[in-house]
Amino acid sequence: MNRITLNRIKDKGFLVTGIISTFIGLVLLLIFMADIFIEGAPRISWKFIVSLPSRIPERAGIYTAMMGSVWVLILTTIISFPIGVSAGIYLEEYAKQGRLSRLLEVNISNLAGVPSIIYGLLGLEIFARVMRLGSSVLAGSITLALLILPIIIVATRESIKAVPQSIRDASYALGASKWQTIYRQVLPASFGGILTGVILALSRAVGEAAPLIVVGALAYVPFAPRSPLDDFSILPIQIFNWISRPQHGFIVNAAAAIIILLIITFAMNGIAIYLRSRWQKRVSW
């Protein structure tokens, strides 16, 4: 066999390996989703969404858990968005390049990789106990906000970095102050990217169960939360709770709830992709 044929075989070989690797993940995910869908889809109805939890599977619904998730999502956004974006702007535009800023940079990247349960423990100790927020929506939301802050900060910095220096120069040269330049040029030009990062971070937060279990979110709450200081449950915990029940009816409920959770995350990812593409069309250098 000469060298050329051997190379061709290697080439083909890698192609096949690549295709298989690509499809393994996809196929497994599809099988999982089909399974969930067959099991849970018939259970989904308006009644399932607006019903309170119950010990009888056929009467149980996800209302409290879903409202809990919505509360957590909104509070987490309110807390993490301004802090994360401000921190990103500071690090990218104001912080002097030096040992301190490099230290901050490395640590923020590291924080993004810390297991979420650690954040749960932090939340339990500081927000639930020291700040006496108990196992409330607020305590859970602050915990999740901390969890996704590093992601938002990194996304903000990346988007700001993508704005060409020439735009800043032009603004400064016309007599704009630093804040005017950031507010009127840098932020509008990078906002699509920042928003995309924030939404992706939030869609991760929606699916987190571990840190909120540690903080003390309940598996069973009779009512949807009415204020940030109320007890709460969230969809992932509701799902976790149902799956561990022996009755088959609850397994069906769990499957149905998983479908709803997936729809929420996919919708959020969809919005993120839409924003990104829309922005790229509008701004191109």
Binding site: D169, A170, A173, L174, G175, Q180
Partner: protein, 281 residues
């Protein structure tokens, strides 16, 4: 080593034979110089980018800064609107006086300085906004709210750069949709809209085709009636065409400065002659 005054004397006396015949306006007494730099040293960290530069620039004239890449001419240009301040490790020694004010020593408000000293960059850099917003930006950041006033200023600025007729029907169009030459004229209009006294141009035509370059050069010629212009250029012909005076920089030093005609036809320094005739560059 000469003192600044001695150098000035040298240049003035040698030049004056021809100068007073050529142009009375550009040989005004020293008090009427628009910009004076005295013993300016610029450092980036340990690197000395400009070495003891002393130079005087007359109002309503075009001064070309020429020299090979890395000679410090762009650094020198950016000294006047303090755009070097953003570079890490930048430090300046000496005096830079504009209209009697030392722009480095006194408590200078950068925003005000840059309102007086406009700048046009090498690559056209319009904001990713409408044509109108690009020109209006300088006024808007000053807090100008009067729509009528802004509209008028946008129109006069675009007319000055001869862009008005090309864009008057779609001022709402994104500036990035314009051609490179149009973009650069828009950038000049944007600078004019805040009514500076001095305009700094950093190789304004190096990214443009010959026709657009011609238009910009004509424009520079017009603008010098109202503004004091400094232009960095790599193009010797351009320096010859548009400038009244030329300064030759080499390795961070000001080698020679004088009437453009004299610099090109009768350079006193051998290095100047070598550069201009293309023996190095």
């Amino acid at each position: 080593m000469f003192t600044e005054a001695e150098i000035m004397d040298l240049i003035m006396t040698k030049d004056s034979k021809t100068e007073h015949l050529v142009n009375d306006i550009i040989d005004k007494p020293v008090e009427e110089h628009k910009i004076t730099t005295k013993n300016v040293n610029v450092f980036y960290g340990d690197f000395k980018a400009l070495k003891n530069i002393s130079m005087k620039i007359r109002p309503f004239s075009v001064t070309a800064l020429i020299g090979p890449s890395g000679c410090g001419k762009s650094t020198y240009l950016r000294v006047f609107n303090r755009m070097n301040d953003y570079i890490n490790g930048f430090r300046l020694e000496g005096k830079v006086v504009i209209d009697g004010v030392n722009i480095y020593k006194d408590k200078i408000i950068l925003e005000k300085l840059r309102k007086e000293v406009g700048m046009v960059f090498q690559k056209p850099n319009p904001f990713p906004k409408s044509i109108f917003d690009n020109v209006a930006y300088g006024l808007q950041i000053q807090g100008m709210k009067d729509k009528h006033f802004i509209n008028e200023r946008v129109e006069t600025s675009l007319k000055k750069v001869v862009l008005w007729d090309e864009v008057k029907d779609d001022l709402k169009k994104n500036a990035l949709a314009l051609s490179g030459g149009q973009q650069q004229r828009l950038c000049i209009a944007r600078t004019l809209a805040v009514e500076p006294n001095i305009i700094l141009m950093d190789e304004p035509t190096s990214a443009l085709d010959p026709i657009s370059t011609g238009k910009i050069e004509e424009l520079i010629f017009e603008l010098k009636n109202e503004y004091t212009i400094l232009i960095v250029t790599h193009n010797m012909q351009q320096a010859g065409r548009v400038s009244d005076r030329t300064a030759f920089f080499y390795l961070g030093e000001l080698i020679e400065e004088g009437l453009t005609k004299n610099i090109f036809l009768n350079p006193k320094e051998e290095r100047t002659e070598n550069y201009i005739t293309g023996r190095f560059g």
